[in-house]
């Protein structure tokens, strides 16, 4: 069986600064992988390459055997047509640190937009599905509220519903609790935990070490554009093999 996600020798540069220096990673269906590491280590960039929000200069990323973003034509690597890239982006769902809900649409409207425009559903179908997922994140009663009328935690839950309603094969979470007040973090983590329990494949960039420890089937520690260490969360957190990871864990709050 092919892996759900296959990253081979991923290289990414901003100008002359190389932020990803050859990352390899494979992930099976149903795995929950947390990516930890200090800021600037490349973890968010890696996530953003997977859905082509960032271009990358070397290596390949495949989801379900499909090569993402680039194709080789006559031995020359080139960007796939935008339509194809848009279609491939729908293979993954993403939740952002800043939620990025569409402020001029209600909670239900946010969830429905992709269903109507990308999945070409009727408004009735889309509305029913939006209600199902808003209910799932505990916000059905807020479906007609606008983002400005919701708390940060509620906005993030709507954003997760918006992504998950598109039925992605893989969910990407980019520091989804970093912009939240501490008392709102838990409601969002509970939603993600629920998805994990349902068997959703997820890549989670996070600073919540306790959460990473509890929810992940595997943890990846990014260090200076490379994978510094990876493995079972228990071993990683309790018996780090590398000096770097031990140092990182000492300076983070794992309580």
């Amino acid at each position: 069986m092919t892996n759900l996600l296959e990253i081979r020798d991923l290289h990414k540069r901003y100008g002359t600064v190389e932020v990803l220096k050859g990352v390899d990673c494979s992930m099976r269906q149903g795995e929950v992988i947390s990516i930890i590491g200090s800021s600037g280590s490349g973890k968010t960039t890696m996530l953003r390459c997977i859905n082509m929000l960032e271009e990358f200069q070397g290596g390949t990323i495949s989801i379900d055997g499909q090569e993402i973003g680039y194709e080789a034509v006559g031995g020359v690597r080139r960007r796939k047509p935008e339509r194809e890239i848009a279609r491939q982006r729908a293979l993954t769902g993403m939740a952002f640190q800043q939620f990025n809900l569409f402020p001029h649409m209600t909670a239900a409207g946010n969830v429905m937009l992709g269903l109507v425009k990308v999945k070409k559903m009727s408004r009735d179908e889309a509305s029913a599905l939006a209600e199902k997922w808003l209910n799932r994140v505990g916000l059905l009663s807020r479906k007609d509220h606008y983002p400005g009328q919701l708390s940060g935690g509620q906005q993030q839950r709507v954003a997760i519903a918006r992504a998950i309603a598109m039925n992605p094969k893989l969910m990407l979470f980019d520091e989804v609790t970093s912009a939240l007040d501490p008392e709102l973090v838990n409601e969002v983590l509970q939603v993600i935990k629920g998805l994990a329990d349902d068997g959703m494949s997820m890549l989670i960039v996070t600073h919540e070490m306790r959460f990473a420890y509890e929810v992940s089937s595997r943890v990846i520690f990014m260090n200076q554009g490379r994978i510094g260490e990876e493995g079972d969360p228990r071993e990683m957190f309790l018996k780090p093999k590398t000096e770097r990871l031990a140092e990182f864990l000492k300076n983070s709050t794992f309580n």
């Binding site: 952002f96 990025n100 425009k117």
Partner: protein
């Protein structure tokens, strides 16, 4: 001062003033509609990453915005025919005002576009929308909400610029007022009434724009 106000002569020609006002409004509506499309396309050019799009958009705004509109009006009516482009005076003026408003609105829209957070586009991309779908469903609606207050001002300005059509004898409000002025010698009365018509129309326009603003306001 021995001038006695007597509006009777102006009232007798009031119909003419109203017809003029109707033409002014017509000119403004068509020109601003065309100018909005032109301005929107140009605004996307101005904020584009591609130099091939940015350069011509910038050049258009620079040339048109920095030329007095009266000069543009005279140029398109008197100079364009020499170059083989012959237009009636109304067509010529509408075209000029459309091109002129396009340049102004492009700058207004550009301001609104750069105020839309980049995360909005990324969120659209992440659910699989194409760039065009992102523009029509997300970027443009948010940009419009950003620019509504200044858009109202710009539209009022552009409406008042229709008075310059008098320079090429388009029978709009100012032209009609000048005619009445010459025919009746009621100088003060004529221009007071004409001014009042401009003020009333612009106030109405401003109220309309505020209503749109309220209607589109994002609840919070």
């Amino acid at each position: 001062m021995s001038y006695t106000l007597n509006f009777a002569a102006v009232w007798r020609s009031f119909d003419l003033l109203l017809q003029g006002l109707a033409l002014s409004l017509g000119l403004a509506v068509i020109a601003i509609l065309a100018g909005s499309v032109l301005g929107l396309v140009t605004a996307f050019g101005l904020v584009s990453k591609s130099e091939v799009l940015r350069r011509p958009a910038g050049l258009y705004v620079t040339i048109i915005r920095n030329t007095p509109i009266l000069v543009l009006v005279l140029f398109s009516y008197f100079a364009l025919p020499q170059l083989g482009v012959r237009l009636g005076k109304i067509e010529s003026f509408v075209l000029t005002l459309a091109v002129y408003s396009g340049a102004y609105l492009a700058e207004v829209f550009r301001g609104g576009l750069i105020a839309v957070p980049p995360g909005q586009r990324e969120a659209g991309l992440a659910i699989g929308l194409t760039e065009m779908q992102i523009r029509t469903s997300i970027i443009i609606p948010l940009m419009l909400r950003n620019v509504l207050p200044s858009l109202g001002s710009t539209m009022i300005s552009l409406f008042k610029d229709t008075s310059l059509a008098a320079a090429i004898a388009v029978p709009e409000l100012t032209f009609e007022a000048r005619k009445i002025n010459v025919e009746t010698f009621r100088v003060i009365e004529t221009w007071i009434v004409a001014s009042c018509l401009y003020v009333a129309t612009c106030s109405l326009l401003a109220a309309l724009m505020r209503a749109v603003e309220r209607r589109l306001a994002v609840p919070r």
